[in-house]
Amino acid sequence: MSKIHVETTINGEAMEFLANPGESLLDALRNTLNLTGTKEGCGSGDCGACTVIIDGRMTCSCLVLAVEAGGHEITTIEGIAQGDTLHPIQRKFLENAALQCGFCTPGFIVATKALLDKNPDPTETEIRFWLAGNLCRCTGYDKIVRAVQDAAAEMRGG
């Protein structure tokens, strides 16, 4: 089976790559484009470690075919910081110790970006339900929720 040529925009840059028809966007990001910050925890859309933003929508990249990315704008964890300046969400995750092993962290940060782009002042309940598709086994979510609250407050203030 021959590969399909895909043209897309990833983290603001025009990209092109070849993908097998059945290949997931997650596999293309990790294996073809070497963007390994997006993680695979389950491959079935249950854990959120592979979360990316496609045209403003939070999406599990393991549930999207790589060829479906054609013509869309994709943001991955590698596109959240501006050069060597961390995004406030990233900084607040660090300051709040909102990560232990850090494996789920890229997914949480990307999901949080999608949330705060849409809702700059979420309640704790809104944060918890928005992030309910992202599994973390280390933290018990407490410090993650606080980091999101802190980041939201700073971003509103700024």
């Binding site: 249950d46 110790a97 990560l99 992030l131 086994r137």
Partner: protein, 763 residues
């Protein structure tokens, strides 16, 4: 070792700096197991048994080998057939032969998911196709999943050569009971005779998985000269080296393991599954081989912890003095012996100062994946039963459950059932902090209840290596052999910075490969901040002594006349001379002229890890219509000795508590009649998500461990011990129902509500 005393004197320890590996982890740069690559690597995959119990009649790999793109196929014929040998390398006793057979089945498969063959191919698709071409002929055998059924006469026997250890005379027929073990002090019969009130009940718990979000992954290569390189995600790269060497008959010096960042472990990554197979496939194919598990592989093929059956009996006098406590525990080991039965027995009543205790346990094999360590292995299981029974006892006595515990609390000098006498411990302090917390007396509404439960874990020390090296510009590098699973690089750098008297930002901590630092035991047993921290502290202290000598040399005075203060050498007094202080950076600059590079690497076998105790308070609301439980408020109090980085200590407590909440309410391995796991995915094996939970308040009590330079006690495991009973006791308070089986899922609670409503049958 001098104790680095008052908290008020500490500048770095007790603060909350950003971890050294933090930026990499929030930007996606950190390299985890599945992110690592080697040039020219190909893909390795395993074939798993579809049957829970079967003889392997034959394996024909010829078709798979002929498929274009396949570079190698292995079966047990390619793995050395090693003899039985007990070892202690991971987080519990391990038999190397069992480990080998668990990585690759030889004559029999013992659980659904047991590996029977592996392939290496140029890509995923070819590897998948090759697996389908391997023809395995099985003779299906009857299987047994449940622990009680596995112990029953006539049960299918997993191992013809397994005879129950710990019974006399030695049995002559094979059994699924691998071991019987007993710890006892005093005379429980006499103790129960003194009791005014006795509670007695049987509880069950389900096997639960550690459910780290990162599936196991590694990449490995063996060269023509036999030298092996492995990069893997694990709780111990020295463990991977040791096991791979043993299982494949390779000399340890020929294996170098680099630890990738680890995406969670909780005990589950203290054993090998893939690494020996990847090396064997590399040998066969001549290429580096990368192997990554799917989530389904993780559930079906790696170790959960045991489920069990726990009978408990506790008696007390009217005034609440416990006169006797007894338990009988049967734990599932999975397909090979090795459940955490010993710690389950030891921990059940370790919180109490009791004269009469009897604990009897059974380690039982059945057709499930071999269990692996999971956070305080065994203790959560026995404590669920014991702390539920203590709660029932308090109700019968009409006593506050914290007061009952205070009346019987273990303290310095209390003797445990396993023979150790407690040293300086903080159980009473923890109970008093829980009692004084506003949570304990806050009002509750309808269908809401409050439960409390407590827990104990030994914590361990053991072998660790830590190094501190002063760089030419006066910054410092810290190296340790402990994979950092939750922020330990930060605490290592903090302890070194404290001793050196320089800012935390001037110290960088890294974890080199197994050829570049001395042996270090796994990251497990809550040992890293304690034992590896001790090595780092001692190395930093040795560096300070050296720095003082260098200053003395520069000043041409005696080393005894130099003191180290706030990162500078200063004359010890007026008699020492009127020299200006020499900062560390100034001494570093002159290292070449004062004896060469400045640094120290210390290896320790740390003893005296201080045990930890916790008390958890849980408020819950139960909907009797749906059986759904909502955690309303949760407070976890724990003696942490001394918190080096309080945020990461709190994180351990919050995370452990939530894992326990999942264990209490939702998580379980569900088997169908064919012996297949029905819920091998995160959709159906449901771990807690953010919307299930409130904030988890962690309260740090600090009763310093006198055996550690900063007073550290391990903190990672205690917090998973109390939650199941705390949740259970809260549910009892909410709807006045006694629950005896985990998980206390909505269908279970619904059934209990219905049973309570139904008219009682004549007994």
């Amino acid at each position: 070792m001098t104790f680095i005393g008052n908290k008020s004197d500490l500048r770095v320890v007790g603060t909350r700096p950003v971890r050294p590996d933090g930026v990499d982890k929030v930007t996606g740069r950190a390299v985890y197991g599945a992110d690592a690559t080697m040039p020219g690597q190909i893909i390795g995959k395993v074939l798993r048994s579809p049957h829970p119990h079967a003889k392997i009649i034959s394996i024909d790999t010829s078709k798979a080998e002929k498929l274009p793109g396949v570079k190698g196929v292995i079966t047990s014929a390619d793995i050395p057939n090693i003899p039985s040998e007990e070892a202690f390398v991971g987080e519990g006793p391990m038999n190397f032969r069992d480990l080998s057979l668990n990585c690759m089945a030889r004559d029999k498969v013992l659980y659904e998911g047991h590996v029977v063959a592996a392939v290496a191919a140029i890509n995923d698709a070819v590897a998948d196709a090759a697996l389908k071409l391997i023809d395995v002929k099985y003779e299906i055998l009857p299987h047994v999943i449940d622990v009680e059924e596995a112990m029953a006469p006539g049960a299918p026997i997993l191992h013809d050569n397994l005879f129950t250890a710990g019974v006399t005379p030695k049995p002559t027929t094979a059994s699924n009971v691998a071991k019987q073990v007993r710890f006892t002090i005093g005379d429980v019969e006499a103790g129960f005779a003194q009791a005014d009130v006795i509670v007695e009940q049987t509880y069950t718990t389900a096997p639960v998985h550690q459910a780290y979000i990162e599936p196991h992954a590694c990449v490995a290569a063996i060269a023509a000269d036999g030298q092996v390189l492995i990069t893997a995600s694990s709780q111990g790269h020295f463990m991977i080296r040791a096991y791979t060497a043993k299982l494949l008959g390779i000399e340890i010096a020929n294996i170098r393991v680099t630890n990738a960042e680890i995406g969670g472990g909780f005990g589950g990554k203290t054993v090998v599954y893939l690494e020996p197979l990847a090396v064997a496939l590399s040998k066969k194919s001549g290429r580096p081989v990368k192997m990554t598990m799917t989530r389904e592989d993780v559930f079906r093929g790696t170790g959960p912890t045991s489920g069990g059956t726990i009978w408990v009996k506790v008696g007390a006098t009217k005034d609440g003095k416990i006169t006797a406590a007894q338990t009988v525990i049967k734990l599932q080991a999975g397909a090979f012996p090795g459940s955490p039965i010993n710690p389950a027995l030891m921990c059940a009543f370790a919180m109490y100062d009791l004269a009469n205790v009897d604990t009897l346990g059974y380690d039982v094999v059945s057709n499930r994946p071999k269990v692996a360590a999971y956070r305080a292995p065994g203790a959560p299981i026995s404590s669920f039963a014991a702390e539920s029974a203590i709660d029932d006892l308090a109700r019968k006595l009409g006593m506050d459950p914290i007061d009952l515990r205070l009346k019987n609390a273990a303290k310095q000098g209390s003797k445990t059932v396993y023979g150790v006498t407690h040293g300086v411990i903080g159980y009473e302090e923890v109970l008093n902090a829980a009692k004084a917390h506003p949570h304990w007396t806050a009002p509750l509404g309808k269908n809401q209840g409050r439960g409390v439960a407590t827990g104990f874990w030994f914590n361990i020390g053991g072998e660790s290596t830590g190094g501190v090296f002063i760089n030419e510009d006066g910054t410092a590098s810290v190296v340790t052999g402990s994979p950092d699973i939750g922020g330990s690089r930060a605490s290592m750098a903090m302890m070194a910075a404290e001793v050196l008297g320089i800012p935390y930002e001037k110290v960088r901590a890294v974890i080199p490969d197994t050829a570049s630092i001395g042996f270090t035991h796994v990251t497990g047993g809550s040992r890293v901040t304690y034992a590896t921290g001790m090595a780092v502290t001692q190395a930093a202290q040795a560096v300070v002594e050296d720095l003082k000598k260098r200053a003395a040399m520069i000043w041409d005075i005696s080393p005894e006349a130099v003191e180290w203060k706030d990162g500078e050498a200063v004359p010890a007094g007026a008699n020492a001379g009127g020299f200006d202080p020499l900062p560390l950076a100034a001494i570093a600059l002159k290292a070449a002229k004062t004896g060469g590079p400045i640094g120290s690497e210390i290896s320790v076998n740390a003893q005296g890890a201080g045990p930890g105790f916790g008390a958890h308070i849980c408020d819950i609301e139960v909907d009797p219509e749906t059986g759904h439980s909502t955690i309303l408020r949760y407070t976890a109090v724990q003696d942490v000795g001394r918190a080096i980085h309080p945020s990461y200590v709190e994180g351990q407590i919050q995370g452990g508590a939530v894992q326990g909440i999942g264990w209490a309410l939702n998580e379980e391995y569900i088997y169908n009649k064919k012996g297949h796991m029905d819920n091998a995915g995160f959709l159906d094996y449901r771990i807690p998500v953010a919307s299930d939970l409130p904030m988890i308040e962690a309260v740090l009590v600090e009763v310093p461990n006198t055996r550690h330079p900063f007073g550290v006690r391990g903190v990672g495991e205690v917090p998973i011990v109390p939650p199941m009973a705390a949740v259970r006791n809260a549910i009892r308070g909410a709807i006045d129902l006694e629950m005896f089986h985990l998980p206390m899922s909505p269908p279970r609670i619904r059934a209990a509500v219905d049973a309570a409503k139904a008219p009682k049958a004549a007994e």
